[in-house]
């Protein structure tokens, strides 16, 4: 057969499996909504679940690098674009339910919400920050921007993730357990990266001979 040997490589299977798995919650929410199985307040329930999965996938998208640092595995790095785009799909669905179903395109009310309710302000900001990342996710865009600039732009994901967690913290009335789990997970992921960056910096500094003698 003409199919190249690596076509069904483990990494391709892993990517396909994880990519499909990430869509299962959305499919499930859609199915339950159509069956009227989302409870007494299906609109709020759909928004809550889509928000939960947006944050979950956002953290999963941020995981490959820390995973690589800790375990040495490189294959998850190849999943980042797909996971990032799936995160974007969920945030779009989350926002679409708010815009079209919850508020029924009442732009005056939505504008007021975004300005006046700080949990919506930060949630909306996180959503807006993800838009350029989705747009520049293609290989062509990476080339056009140049890798260094592209990478700098894509660091916005950290800000978006932090705002997403704050959005959840400010949304809940008193039970902070879930938002705290998200916040702690994000913190762990960022700490692993920071530790490596510090170690790299220290290694670079140690390897470089001092350029000027220190005055004492």
């Amino acid at each position: 057969m003409a199919t190249p040997k690596h076509f069904w490589s483990l990494s391709a299977i892993a990517k396909l499996t994880i990519g499909v798995l990430a869509l299962v919650p959305a499919a499930r929410i859609g199915t339950l909504a159509l069956q009227g199985q989302l409870g007494a307040n299906p609109i709020a329930e759909a928004m809550n679940r889509l928000g939960f999965w947006t944050l979950t996938l956002l953290l999963v998208t941020l995981s490959p690098t820390p995973i690589q640092i800790v375990t040495g595995w490189k294959w998850p790095l190849r999943l980042r674009r797909m996971l990032g785009l799936e995160t974007f799909l969920y945030v779009c669905l989350h926002f679409a339910v708010y815009l079209g179903v919850d508020q029924f395109f009442d732009f005056a009310a939505i504008g007021k919400d975004i300005v006046k309710r700080k949990f919506i302000t930060v949630g909306f900001a996180a959503f807006v920050l993800l838009i350029p990342l989705a747009i520049t996710s293609t290989d062509g865009m990476v080339r056009r921007l140049g890798f260094a600039r592209w990478k700098r732009l894509h660091r916005l994901i950290y800000l978006a993730a932090a705002l997403g967690v704050v959005h959840f913290v400010w949304r809940v009335k008193s039970d902070l357990r879930q938002p705290v789990i998200f916040g702690a997970s994000l913190a762990i992921l960022l700490v692993i990266r920071t530790l490596r960056t510090l170690r790299t910096l220290r290694a670079v500094r140690a390897a470089r001979p001092p350029t000027s003698p220190r005055r004492s």
Binding site: A40, G72, K74, W75, F104, A109, K112
Partner: protein, 318 residues
Amino acid sequence: MPPLWRPDMPPSEITPERTYVRRRDFIAGGAAAATGLTFALAGCKPKAAVVPVEPALAGVAPGPFGTDETRTPYKDITTYNNFYELGTDKSDPAANAHLLKTRPWTVTFEGEIAKPQVIDIDTLLGRFPLEERVYRLRCVEAWSMVIPWVGFPLGPLIKQLQPTSRAKYVAFTTKLAPDEMPGQRTGALEWPYVEGLRMDEAMHPLTILAVGLYGRVLPNQDGAPIRLVVPWKYGFKSIKSIVRVRFVEAEPPTSWNRQAPNEYGFYSNVNPEVDHPRWSQANERRIGELRRRQTLAFNGYGKEVAGLYAGMDLRKFF
């Protein structure tokens, strides 16, 4: 730690041939496991679908202040609850309802009254004729229901207790039983839940103690065996599963006000003009409806209760 896998590794180095030839079984098994895991992760909570059908209450007469608006289905009233003692998710109270023991149960009446007493719930139930009161319920989270409560007005009971001239407020307390109410084992709120009304609010003919809904005994998740219903205030004022009613001179502490004083006031009258910091209160979603509807001042009971607040700045006393 050395990497477990590199792109240039030959498959034989990773997978023994014996396993490799059985890869289709492996993939099928993995896919099945992954599907199962996903559904588990996707929040297939233990279903609260089995709603115990409570026994019917006898001799319930139709009461005043009714509305002909469509009643919210029994299923929604009993599966979509804010009752943090039984869990913070809307479906938790129904799932944990069976843990709460409602017999034996007494309600203690104390404080500034001539006749302090402890009354057994079944005695209390027989003391006043039961009425059906079909009220709108407006939650501070901007959703609403229409609920056919069964209960009796609080006013005549208060008169029997003979409040003294120092009784300016009524303070209510929910049962404290962490072994029966899992939410009380968490720090979601300070336990027990407490609420309060001004004396004239408590005496108002709209204010009832509810012991049932839809002609049946009140399900635990809705605040059995006895709860307050104050239909012109946000739902959290209508305290559930009451064990203590104390008559006091000073404004008593209330749970949500203690939790977030800038968000929840003592009065908490439904007021579309005063927004909650996190939600607009201008409109609401009636459970079962797609479009939002306008929220009415005092939840539509302005004709009856606006006079209680004459001369008060309701932005300040929110």
